[in-house]
């Protein structure tokens, strides 16, 4: 870099006054414009560590699939125990920080409570999460099974595990959903947004999703916070399960705004289904590009062309 620096030298010197002026303006405005937390000395949840937790979990559930080293799998019991311990440690610290940060954000005393004061509730969360991991694996195996059977282009379950963004996004959702239901702030959304960034699939951590769930291709899928989805459902790219209107903003915070989908429903690409009172009955099929704002009978087939039942 020394050559570049030399080249940039004269330019940099002449920048000095502007640098000082900008620094002054940035510091002066801090107290007014930044959210409260930015101005305190809080520890914040760490996105990189949260991503590491998801990676560790995936390695634990699918040993050998996601390591970056080409080693023979030494999958002894101690190995699993060691990975679990590392995972629990990391998660515990992040959950403590998340609780403490939320507490201080709401005006709590940051001196006393951040973040050591939250060891107890965080331990409770992690204990419950650990007990959930074997259940999680069963759920994921069912999702993978559904994906393999649902996509003629899938060559094997192994390929689904390796490569399918839908299976990855649903895995992350199931992890985030457990923490969401336990009332952990920040971390669930950080997790689902990580999956969103990697897959284009945006599943709210608060959604309710049954077993054997499959999302194919997936880019552009949005599943809103109060959506309810049954078992054996299949959703394609660009499908939105959304709210009819968000005009009332924050007043809608705890209202059911998103649709309810029954069991064995297939929703083809780019269909939009809106509204908290909209119920798609068991076994219904929603065609590509359909725009649905009222309920659909069980077993009905709604065409993408005109939005009417052609069953």
């Amino acid at each position: 870099m020394s050559d570049d620096k030399k080249a940039a030298g004269p330019g940099l010197e002449s920048l000095e006054p502007t640098l000082r002026e900008t620094a002054r303006r940035l510091e002066g405005k801090d107290q007014e414009t930044l959210p409260r937390a930015c101005s305190t000395e809080l520890i914040l949840p760490d996105k990189d560590v949260v991503v590491e937790i998801l990676r560790d979990l995936r390695k634990l559930l699918f040993p050998g699939y996601f390591g970056s080293e080409m080693v023979r799998l030494a999958k002894s019991g101690d190995h699993v125990m060691h990975r679990l311990q590392k995972l629990a440690e990391r998660l515990l610290v992040q959950v403590e920080i998340a609780f403490a940060f939320e507490h201080c954000r709401q005006g709590g005393d940051s001196e006393v409570l951040c973040p050591d004061g939250f060891v107890e509730p965080a331990t409770k969360v992690v204990t419950e999460f650990l007990s959930f991991i074997p259940v999680l694996r069963e759920q994921i195996m069912k999702d993978i099974d559904a994906t393999f059977h649902g996509d003629p282009a899938a060559n094997s379950r192994e390929e689904v595990i390796f490569s399918y963004p839908g299976a990855f996004a649903v895995f992350v959702f199931r992890v985030a959903n457990n923490l969401f239901r336990q009332g952990v702030p920040f971390l669930p959304r950080m997790m689902t947004e990580y999956a969103h960034s990697r897959t284009g699939i945006d599943i709210s951590a608060g959604a309710t999703i049954g077993e054997h769930f499959m999302i194919d291709h997936g880019t552009g899928v949005v599943i809103g916070e109060t959506s309810i989805i049954g078992d054996y459902c299949k959703i394609y790219q660009g499908v939105t399960l959304g709210a009819l209107s968000t005009r009332d903003g924050r007043a809608l915070e705890h209202v059911k705004r998103h649709p309810t989908i029954g069991d064995r429903v297939t929703i083809y690409a780019n269909a939009t289904i809106l509204g908290g009172d909209t119920v798609i009955g068991d076994g219904a099929t929603i065609g590509g590009n359909a725009f649905i704002i009222s309920s659909v009978e069980p077993g009905a087939k709604v065409s993408g062309l005109n939005g009417q039942d052609k069953g």
Copy 2:
């Protein structure tokens, strides 16, 4: 790797003639098929450094939110000054390279001018950019505010800063737009494509976007180069502000091809609005999946079902 290499050994040896032949063919064709710059000894803009600049800027504006180390925030004045200096240095070098590369690409003399000859214009750009940073922070705080108030699922402004892809994409757009307006080549597009890759939101660095702007979910959003968007607008996933036709290709380079959106307009998921003469009036609401190729009156509500005013 030594074991792998041994295993691959015999295979590799037999590849030797094909390797030589491929290398020969790649070298021979260089002068004909590659764009000019590939064949010279130019320094090119560095995508990794451009991404680092965006990260540094984000850390500067939201201290503590995006560090990968869990440290207490030491946010003294010197700290801000130090970060600004590092940012300015990096940006200066990349702007110089971008100017020089564009100059040479257009046939300029690469010996004399690359890239030290561009210290002066690059310094001017960076000076103006530094002065813009405090304004940028105010703009971003307004965007975050709009996002928090507009999404019932957002728990706090802090969560928006941490996790919302829309807020991130708009932040990157505002940075890139400043450089675009200053005539810097390459870097603005590298920045917006970085945001596009991470969020699925594709905002042209040349677009004009007002204050308090919010994009929710965002995957699939495309905002074209000559779009104009007013204040307090809200856009959902899959919305395209695009051109009616690109059949005339490069001849359209400086023509207004994309729509104009007034103030306080909400555009729901997957709506498509096309054409440089299309104006969406203040306070209008465009329903999900709507397909719009002509202007819409202020205050009108256009349904996604049939594209007609249901106001």
Copy 3:
């Protein structure tokens, strides 16, 4: 981390019984629920290495464009030969592993054959791939040319190479397609899903795509496995070339399920074209948001508004 660990200490100790119980449950269920490969000591294809192969290839084809170090380009013949050799080595190992893993997955003897027994077929694949690289470069230069001429907002071919996600996704597709046609398992899909993750563009490695192909913006594009696309075609964001129904699941594995697109066809944003018998004639234009499930005459213009020919 020592401070954090101390803080977490009491929490961690109390987690011990749950950790042991979870480890026990994870180990006990292994044989039942995990796909076969997870329970053996196989070497698996390595996603990180596959991504490295794509990066190396891009650096080889566009010297200087994608390095992270700002060095003058030393593009001597030895340099190209050296890069090719490294690429061939890495690819050879991954192809061997992919063949061996697929063999064992189907019930083959893992002791004898994994992965050294596949040197010969893997060498054949890599030899053919090496011979393909110069052809690949010609194809990519044509795609870049098409993108530059097709987008009024593109400032130069260099900008397309640097920044356009469409050009990147098509590059990865052409690489993956070569391996797909040679019958390599796993790797083609790993490659296209990497591009999908970075660009939101999901092109099946099995698709057939002509020359001078351009995808603009691209987020949400899905091109199914049995699609056939002619020369000089242009596709925008959100376009799906998909199957009419996947209700029959795996029974459709070798059936042509996706449309055929002629030469010089433009398909605007968010259009959906479905079905293996659907043929879009040469020179046709498909409007934004159009929903097409039957063939379209050559030269026809199908509007996005009502799906009818307005030519």
